[in-house]
């Protein structure tokens, strides 16, 4: 049985919102801006996704999870990976940013797309202080940098803006 009778976009989005980033399990692929579009065409759902970082190992897992959840719900579908326009942290939703703070990660600032390091002060996700220092631009995963809060003496991740 293949469930293609009526295009049920809301149902599809609801299903796909269950898929989380394996490296930040608090936040789903819609909030992250990875899921770009769902179209119904020729009795098939076309799911467009955009990779975050080129070498991000989570992308393959996310793709597999999309396949699995749609197959289990009898949808006929195709997954399309778009590189352009390139993923930007500006696509992250406000809900997603809120969840990041709750899990101890400072959300990305607006992306200036410039080579200079034009960051405003980064707030600590725990105490909101701006007395923070950058320890390394490369953190526990490709998408994060590593900071330290001098106010509450806690290390934390900042979701890099790209």
């Amino acid at each position: 049985m293949v469930n293609t009778e009526v295009p049920k976009m809301n149902d599809i989005y609801k299903l796909l919102s269950q898929i989380k980033d394996p490296e930040i399990p608090e936040i789903n692929i819609i909030e992250l801006g990875i899921l770009r579009n769902v179209e119904f065409e020729n009795n098939k759902y076309k799911i467009s996704i955009t990779p975050t970082y080129s070498g991000c190992p989570a992308m393959k897992m996310i793709e597999n999870q999309i396949s699995e959840i749609l197959k289990n719900n009898f949808y006929d579908f195709e997954i399309i990976t778009n590189l352009s326009p390139a993923w930007t942290t500006d696509w992250m939703t406000d809900e997603g940013k809120k969840k990041l703070i709750e899990s101890g990660i400072t959300p990305p600032q607006k992306n200036f797309n410039s080579i200079e390091f034009k960051l405003n002060k980064i707030n600590c996700p725990y105490c909101n202080s701006v007395k923070t220092i950058l320890k390394s631009e490369f953190g526990s995963t490709a998408c994060k940098s590593f900071y330290f809060c001098e106010n509450c003496l806690t290390p934390f991740d900042y979701f890099k803006s790209i």
């Binding site: 970082y53 080129s54 070498g55 590189l83 320890k135 631009e137 490709a142």
Partner: protein, 254 residues
């Protein structure tokens, strides 16, 4: 495959092999970097390079057709079929050597991808646009370290200057004229890399000067040529390690 396709494939292999081989060299630092933050940084950068290589080699495999896969291109070609620049395959050396190679290559890659964003070949343009965002982070990372090491202690300065002296002889090759680039540039698919040289030289020279380092012109002509498959022996060793599992267990899945 017609000649134009063959040129596009060769060009995609150039772009992909540069990132694959450099990414592999960077990955050799995993667990060995002088400090934990750098271990993580170099592994992150390696991951970006390998991801970019995957995109380029995947595009090459699609152009070739006949069921050729990205993995075939990465794991089942011989050294003389690789088209990377020699600077990418040199052994990782000490930390200064890795950082200075990265700095010279990041500046080159930044200028190259900036131009390739406008390539008439859709995939090349899209990959360049995506990768440029990552290369900006890499360039900032290596540039900061060049200052820190060059204008640091007596020992770090000396190690930096030695690394730079050794690497400089390999930078000519970045801007060699190349028949494939020339042909594809006529169709606005590729960029002739020699056209990037002046801007690259300005940027690099200025930054090295700030880092209190000197460029020693090396008159020696390099007899090898990575783009045409003539490599140093270092690539043989690198590939024999990178490819061993796939070659020892053909078709293995895990």
């Amino acid at each position: 495959m017609n000649l134009k396709n063959k040129n596009v494939v060769d060009y995609l292999l150039q772009l992909g092999d540069d990132r694959l081989i450099l990414g592999h060299r960077l990955s050799e630092w995993c667990g060995h970097a002088p400090i934990l933050e750098e271990d993580i940084a170099l592994a992150n950068i390696a991951q970006d390079c390998l991801g970019q290589a995957t995109f380029f080699l995947n595009a090459a495999a699609e152009e070739i057709g006949n069921g050729k896969t990205t993995d075939d291109l990465a794991y089942l070609r011989n050294p003389n079929q690789f088209k990377n620049l020699l600077i990418m395959e040199l052994p990782k050396g000490d930390f200064a050597f890795t950082i200075f190679r990265q700095f010279l290559v990041d500046n080159y890659t930044f200028l190259l991808y900036q131009q390739l964003q406008n390539s008439k070949h859709n995939q090349i343009a899209n990959i360049a646009q995506k990768s440029l965002k990552e290369v900006k982070y890499h360039l900032r990372h290596s540039s900061e370290w060049v200052l820190r090491l060059g204008d640091g202690t007596e020992i770090s300065h000396e190690k930096s200057q030695n690394a730079l002296n050794e690497l400089w002889a390999y930078t000519n090759e970045l801007f060699n004229e190349n028949e494939i680039e020339k042909k594809l540039a006529e169709e606005n698919i590729a960029i002739e890399s020699f056209k990037l040289k002046n801007e690259w030289l300005d940027k690099v020279t200025q930054h090295l000067k700030t880092a209190t380092l000197k460029i020693l012109e090396n008159k020696e002509e390099n007899i090898f040529n990575g783009r045409s498959g003539k490599h140093t022996e270092h690539l043989d060793h690198l590939l024999s390690e990178m490819q061993i599992v796939v070659r020892a267990y053909p078709g293995a899945k895990w």
